[in-house]
């Protein structure tokens, strides 16, 4: 459900502040530094990073590939490995049986069981490919506004954390209160009224 999909979902943010130094240099350096890393051959179960809007599975931030008109356009990619619980259970049981047989014991301690389970998950994580989720993003740098192309709570939370880590700038999600405070051009008297507002009852 991205920028060029037939149906889009958009969550908006206000960016607090500007990048320090040459904007283009800082953008290129940060996007390259925080590009998504592949985890398919690794035991990690999650990877979060920036990727190219046009080629999300071959990230490339060389030149001005992420600039369209006056906008920065790139994507947040979240790769996750999801191992079905029944698969973990099966391999855990097999590993437990083998461990008991090898040690000649009848029981394993809680810590030993946890170690076996962690080992099983590590081995399975190496074998299972990750599932990628790509969420497009448009950053209108001049206006200090971001459009993030999803309303998913988890993806928005990842964006808020990862954007701040990458660019050292805070982004504030726009919802009724922040829209009023940040874009409503309210007088101080109106802001005072806003802070004291309570719900209206439309019934007698």
């Amino acid at each position: 459900m991205g920028i060029i999909s037939s149906s889009a979902s958009i969550t908006r943010y206000k960016v607090d502040g500007k990048l320090e130094g040459s904007v283009m240099d800082v953008m290129a350096e940060r996007l390259k530094k925080y590009t998504i890393t592949e985890i398919d051959e690794e035991s990690s179960d999650k990877s979060v990073g920036w990727t190219s809007f046009k080629t999300p599975f071959e990230p490339n931030f060389e030149g001005s590939s992420y600039v369209i008109g006056s906008l920065f356009v790139f994507s947040l990619r979240i790769d996750k490995k999801v191992i079905p619980p029944k698969v973990i259970q099966k391999h855990f049981q097999v590993a437990m049986t083998r461990r008991l047989k090898d040690s000649g014991r009848e029981f394993l301690s809680r810590n030993e069981k946890k170690m076996v389970k962690d080992q099983v998950i590590n081995v399975l994580s190496l074998r299972i490919p990750s599932t990628p989720n790509v969420y497009d993003l448009i950053w209108n740098y001049e206006e200090g506004v971001i459009w993030f192309f999803t309303n998913l709570k988890s993806a928005n939370e990842e964006l808020e954390t990862f954007f701040s880590r990458t660019f050292r700038l805070t982004i504030i999600r726009l919802f009724p209160y922040t829209m009023a405070e940040l874009t409503g051009e309210l007088t101080s008297a109106e802001k005072d009224t806003l802070s004291k507002l309570n719900p209206t009852l439309f019934t007698e």
Binding site: I4, A8, S9, W147, N151, F175, T183, L194
Partner: protein
């Protein structure tokens, strides 16, 4: 400014009241909506309204779905003390049409359908299509911003208590009670 997560929950009702007010305007004073963008010739409820009634700590949700669905149930839910928490809206210019859903709690849009743009036939087309789509998507977001700003102007003034709320109450009463005058 308040902590964002505190503010999100504390003032969630503002968005719901905005959507309720918007429905009232669509039914009673559509010209007030059209005045926000001279290119728009029609602005209407689309295929979904969700109303939530939170009176007495109980939460009741009524969803009305489907093209051309009757909205009487929705008005009855408002009469019982509900507010609109989600709306599907559509608007038209002379030749183009937009449709989207908006939730009161965050006022983000979803299911946004914009007028058709050129197809992406090669990599070179992408940038042009992005700019075209962005322009068309922005029309919706700008309209929401303008409408919300108008709403805030009223909501934060005495006009809300003195005019808007009595008018909305009257509309709810008259729509659900055939003997109401």
């Amino acid at each position: 400014m308040l902590d964002v997560s505190v503010a999100y929950n504390r003032y969630k009702f503002i968005g719901d009241e905005f959507l309720t007010w918007l429905w009232f305007l669509i039914e009673n004073n559509p010209d007030q909506i059209l005045a926000h963008d001279p290119e728009i010739v029609a602005f209407d409820i689309g295929n979904r309204i969700v109303i939530e009634n939170r009176v007495n700590d109980a939460k009741e949700t009524i969803s009305i779905k489907g093209d051309g669905a009757g909205l009487e149930e929705g008005l009855l839910a408002l009469k019982k003390g509900g507010v609109v928490i989600e709306l599907n809206l559509e608007f038209k210019t002379d030749q183009l049409e937009w449709q989207f859903s908006i939730k009161g709690e965050h006022l983000s849009v979803s299911g946004l359908k914009i007028p058709p743009t050129g197809a992406v036939e090669s990599g070179d087309d992408v940038e042009g299509i992005v700019l075209e789509k962005t322009y068309l998507q922005e029309k919706v977001l700008k309209l929401i911003d303008k409408l919300f700003k108008s709403f805030l102007g009223i909501r934060l003034s005495s006009q809300w208590r003195e005019n808007s709320v009595p008018d909305i109450k009257k509309w709810i009463q008259s729509s659900t009670d055939p003997n109401f005058k």
